[in-house]
Symmetry: C2
Subunit: 381 residues, 2 copies
């Protein structure tokens, strides 16, 4: 049995560019090539479109009193949200709080502050469903807590942490700034900026351009630039602006938000069908939690079949999945996220992350589930 259809099930890692975004981006690359900082007419045209995109994204997200800083991606934005803010505001306190399930760019930014700049970091473990315990967060807050950073949606198991709830708790009980990595949340869940000071985003996770991300940060929060150079982006992020990518970002975000409800309806049906189809299979354990996760992914372990074997066997059938975070693509490494969820070692070794997308049908899920079941039976040791 062979499948001609390609099942791209790695959307959480990156996804195809939206044709409408591509067409606008191509037009911008061709026509609006001038340097945004040049003061001649061509430069000013680019400047206007660039600033219009900045304002439109802020407006689409409905955030007030904040500035948007364009970056080369979410990794850079996360570094700025954490390092730039911590370094600029260390007089207010040198205690930081985050979780053990953050993206590598967040986790290692905290490690950097701890190792090189004498910050003290509390790493909260999460519950079995991937969510933080608000009481544990409250207990960790201190007089000198400068920043609390908790991702909105986890990239390996899709767990949703309620931003409105945890940011309110932090603001009610401390003077700390609040940051959330919203890369996997944008276009998938509703965002709440009421008590959130800093948020980070990526374009290529929402069918946008690679090498494009952004940071949204309250006007009053100081930052130091991590990269030294010219005056661009408020002097915080120098370098000739990637204006075509920054200008098309408004359209990218707009489409992601417009499609959110319809996309979720479709994905939820696919996700639930996936869970239902495998829940009675004794060989399968779910690392993601059906109730408290986004609809874009399911993370399972097929006991007895190492991740690498499962990935290769699915690949033979044109089913393309990942073991977990693509930023640490060595499948032999343990997942820090699954460790924090207290999953057994055999879940680690056999983990598979299947991203869902709206091109899939219920029948496609049946086909994928059948294949996973067959591979599970064939290769189990």
């Amino acid at each position: 049995m062979s499948y001609n259809k390609i099942f791209y099930l790695d959307n959480v890692s990156t996804n195809p560019i939206n044709p409408e975004v591509l067409s606008t981006y191509t037009m911008l690359l061709e026509k609006y090539y001038a340097n945004k900082s040049s003061i001649h007419a061509l430069g000013r045209e680019v400047y206007k479109l660039h600033e219009k995109s900045r304002e439109e994204v802020l407006s689409l997200l409905n955030v007030k009193n904040s500035r948007l800083i364009f970056t080369a991606g979410a990794t850079e934005a996360n570094n700025m949200a954490i390092k730039s803010v911590a370094m600029a505001n260390k007089a207010q306190g040198k205690h930081l709080i985050t979780t053990n399930i953050e993206h590598p760019s967040v986790h290692s930014s905290f490690k950097f502050l701890e190792e090189y700049l004498d910050f003290e970091v509390t790493y909260l473990d999460v519950e079995a469903d991937g969510r933080i315990d608000l009481n544990k967060l409250k207990a960790a807050l201190r007089e000198d807590t400068l920043l609390v950073s908790i991702m909105a949606v986890n990239n390996e198991v899709g767990a949703i942490n309620d931003v409105a709830a945890w940011t309110k708790l932090v603001k009610d009980n401390s003077k700390a700034y609040t940051h959330s990595d919203m890369v996997q949340a944008l276009g998938n869940i509703d965002l709440d900026f009421n008590n959130l000071d800093i948020a980070t985003f990526s374009a290529h996770k929402i069918n946008g351009v690679k090498g494009s991300g952004f940071l949204v940060i309250r006007d009053h929060i100081d930052m130091v630039p991590l990269i030294s150079g010219g005056d661009q982006e408020f002097g915080i992020r120098p370098g000739t602006e990637n204006s075509p990518a920054n200008i098309v970002l408004a359209k990218t975000v707009r489409i992601a938000l417009e499609e959110q409800v319809e996309k979720n309806e479709k994905l939820k049906a696919l996700k639930d069908h996936f869970y239902d189809s495998l829940k009675d299979n004794p060989q399968v354990r779910f690392n993601s939690n059906q109730e408290h996760s986004v609809n874009t992914l399911v993370n399972i372990s097929v006991l007895g079949v190492n991740s690498e074997i499962m990935l290769n066997a699915l690949g033979q059938e044109n089913m393309y999945v990942s073991a977990g975070s693509t930023c640490q693509s060595d499948v032999h490494k343990r997942s820090r996220v699954l460790m924090s969820l207290d999953k057994p070692l055999e879940n680690q070794q056999t983990r598979v992350r299947i991203s869902l997308n709206t091109d899939l049908t219920i029948e496609d899920i049946d086909t994928i589930v059948l294949k996973i079941t067959e591979i599970g039976e064939k290769y189990a040791v």
Copy 2:
């Protein structure tokens, strides 16, 4: 008199994308969207093209025993070349040498090391033609000199510093690493890597994609990552790779090198004609040096006409120029480069940088020169 033709004379700041580069890039954006680090077939396809581009660029530049690191632009690459290398190798010495005419991203990286990490920096002034005095460089070298960084071609006055000469002198007289910002050199002059350890480049200055640059560095030189995150780019530059931009870079560099000789022949005729046409105008002073500069730009001062007035008046005629480095677009600021060249204050206030391109004809130069002359007469105070 009005001109329908647009004279884009700001190529040194950024230039239009090559149609062939755009077409390949668009194809890559559409088809090769997978994450380079994903281990499935689509990811591996991107991986192969990505690494092929890396190898091809190294081969085109004819550098050996070096690695290429893709970045979001030359500003980031310059930061890495200087900060990452200095921080990782500080045990070898904490003295650094650079010039006073470097790009803001180089200059402020040295300022950062000086201010925050106790490095000692010698900033060499240049001669009136924009070139360093090799004897002064030799005298500045010390036992503990870790790095010497001198740009190959200056971005405001186009001065060429002979990389082969200064890097040999450094290697003959010290243990220091050598770095050159080659952003304005690539595709304009021949590059020499014999004694050069680190070089930095940008794509958008050679008709490539914005948000794309790279660093070439000898294999044996340690670096610390400036951005924390995943394992990408040797663990030195994390974040999901901008693979479409990185893959098309090989073509961008190949075309720039293939066109170099023919382009220079054409530009030299235009440049010489420009100098010849204005050399007897008593109101005009040349900040660039006709003999020791690249053919891509001419930097003049029209005495009595402030830069802003000249830029606006030329803009009315669809002639788009800059006052100097676009990274510091405030024309009221003095140019650090012209100060190092010891130009009088009135040169500063009246400076104009005119970039040349191969679409221009000798008649176009006549038109531009005529307009500059007319504006000079009309607005002189």
